[in-house]
Symmetry: C2
Subunit: 336 residues, 2 copies
């Protein structure tokens, strides 16, 4: 199936070598390429990715999320500085399906994390502008592979927590880190439903000065909450830590926990299994998204779909009947 | 679009009238009809459901789940007896994608809830045997409409908690009730990840005798855990109660909370909105499932799919490229 990998044209081969050489400019160009939806760009991106895949998979992939105001950028800036201080090469990708931001966002994301943006061991890539979550997720997954090929050994994927973006991120990283507020159970944490379930590690931020007691109370509350739930994997029981970006406190414990997680998962052979599962789920999600798009683009289906959806929500026909009629229109009598 | 509702043949018209008359035999026959996957049965089921839809939607729809050993059947048996004692007509449906049980399950489910099975105001329908979750969910949603048309004003949909069945149930009911163990945070509750997020009401079971203190501790823990999460809707803050099926204690509070939930949601106009949303989501889920099935049945696609999935999990090609190639094979060069 040589066509699947595609023979590399010379320009793409040059791009591949430049990325393997860790050249930032080439990396940026390649990420722009995988972000493109143009057919010829997609083909070239596919060939490039296929050529780079052997050089991917070596980084620890960390997803980071948290409610608004939790101090995500501040934490990533501080934690990133800590990691590069240890000699790591850090890439930070953002996933934001809501974002209609263009090139301007580069400035946006970089000013959010000024020091990290100036840090030679760090690479910050702003979120690709808008589109469906499926599209954004695919582009982010491919950008993740590119930064790995470029030699970054720690990759942070930040989610702004729009729609199902946390679930998408959790399904493309090794470890999902949830940031929480130093607020006790009496005041609502505002953690989005379904998110705590994804967490392998919870870090209560702003644990400095007068907020230390509140941060410790919040950590205890969160430990209890997590304790009520069945662990995601037998190899790892989610942990709750406190940290302070300002005081730089607790960052070493956070990194220690992440390494502990990775060791436990790798030891149990679960890390590899996790990543294989993520890849095949991604395949089927993309197939489903593609099918849904094709259906919506199909002449005659779009109009019928709108009409049927209205009648379904009005309770005039059942979803089952409406679905059968849409499929029949799209696939033809035989197909449905 | 008369073809969508379909002109009722006389047999179906008779069936419709018998169901509207509350005849159990006819109801059972109709549920068997919607469970059938035969094309002509599906058509007839669609026509029957369309004819009955005006008589649906009057029941309060309650989903019930909980970890193994929590005493689900015992609770439903006691709560069901309490409800019929108040004069309600109760239907209990079970959703179990894992179930390969045939007619034998009728006995199975009925012996699980002996008193309820003998109760003239209650109707217990065993879970349809196996199949994909999508198929089971569709059949359960349609059975729910049938029992509503037959005049049952309280419908309980029980999930055995296999795979994503809780999520499917939560998206077809008004209120999702989670049963929990009288165990404190020190011993793991074993609540499946992602389930607490679905709960509108949590009931700690076995709150009698020596277990009362443990039940109260568990209730406090669960209240705290729920308190950390953003509410599903502004109209309702999830509640945690304790109950004892054996002692019949707390059942009135559970029913009171359910009525309170319904009043709050109806008052805020959210109940109608919730149900409309559920119906259109169901439509698109069924369309997606149907498309995925058609793709897997497509000659030449199945083989390619297996091959590509293997290479994707082996990290030889990216999910994006594999998805594009599958879609191209299925829809043709133009479609993808």
């Amino acid at each position: 199936m040589s066509d699947s990998t595609g023979a590399l044209d010379s320009a793409t081969a040059v791009l591949r070598d430049a990325i393997l050489g860790g050249q930032r400019r080439a990396l940026a160009r390649a990420i722009t390429l995988v972000e493109s939806t143009r057919g010829d760009h997609r083909k070239r991106a596919g060939a490039l990715l296929a050529a780079l895949l052997p050089a991917t998979g070596r980084a620890i992939r960390i997803g980071i999320s948290g409610p608004p105001g939790v101090g995500k950028s501040t934490f990533i800036e501080a934690f990133g500085g800590f990691l590069t201080g240890l000699g790591h090469q850090l890439a930070v990708l953002a996933i934001d399906p809501s974002s209609a931001r263009s090139g301007g966002s580069i400035l946006g994301d970089k000013t959010r994390m000024e020091a990290l943006a100036r840090n030679p061991r760090a690479y910050i890539r702003p979120s690709p502008s808008g589109g469906t979550l499926g599209g954004v997720a695919r582009r982010t997954r491919e950008a993740l592979l590119l930064v790995e090929a470029a030699g970054f050994d720690v990759v942070i994927i930040e989610t702004v927590g729009v729609g199902q973006s946390e679930t998408a991120v959790a399904d493309m990283v090794d470890l999902f880190l949830l940031l929480a507020q130093p607020a006790s159970g009496d005041d609502l944490q505002g953690i989005k439903r379904g998110i705590m379930e994804l967490a392998d590690l919870v870090v209560v931020t702003k644990a400095d000065g007068a907020l230390v007691p509140a941060a410790n109370r919040a950590a205890a509350d969160l430990r209890l909450a997590l304790h009520l739930m069945r662990p995601k994997t037998p190899a790892w029981r989610p942990q709750v830590l406190t940290a302070s970006a300002v005081a730089g406190a607790g960052l070493d414990q956070v990194w220690g926990a992440i390494q502990g997680f990775r060791a436990a998962m790798a030891g149990a052979g679960e890390l590899d299994q996790l990543r294989r599962g993520q890849a095949s789920r991604a395949l089927w999600r993309e197939v489903q998204d593609g099918l849904a798009d094709a259906l919506r683009r199909h002449p005659g289906v779009a109009a019928l779909a709108a009409q049927l959806e209205a009648r379904v929500s009005a309770g005039e026909i059942t979803p089952g009947v409406a679905a059968e009629r849409l499929l029949e229109r799209f696939l033809g009598p035989g197909g449905a």
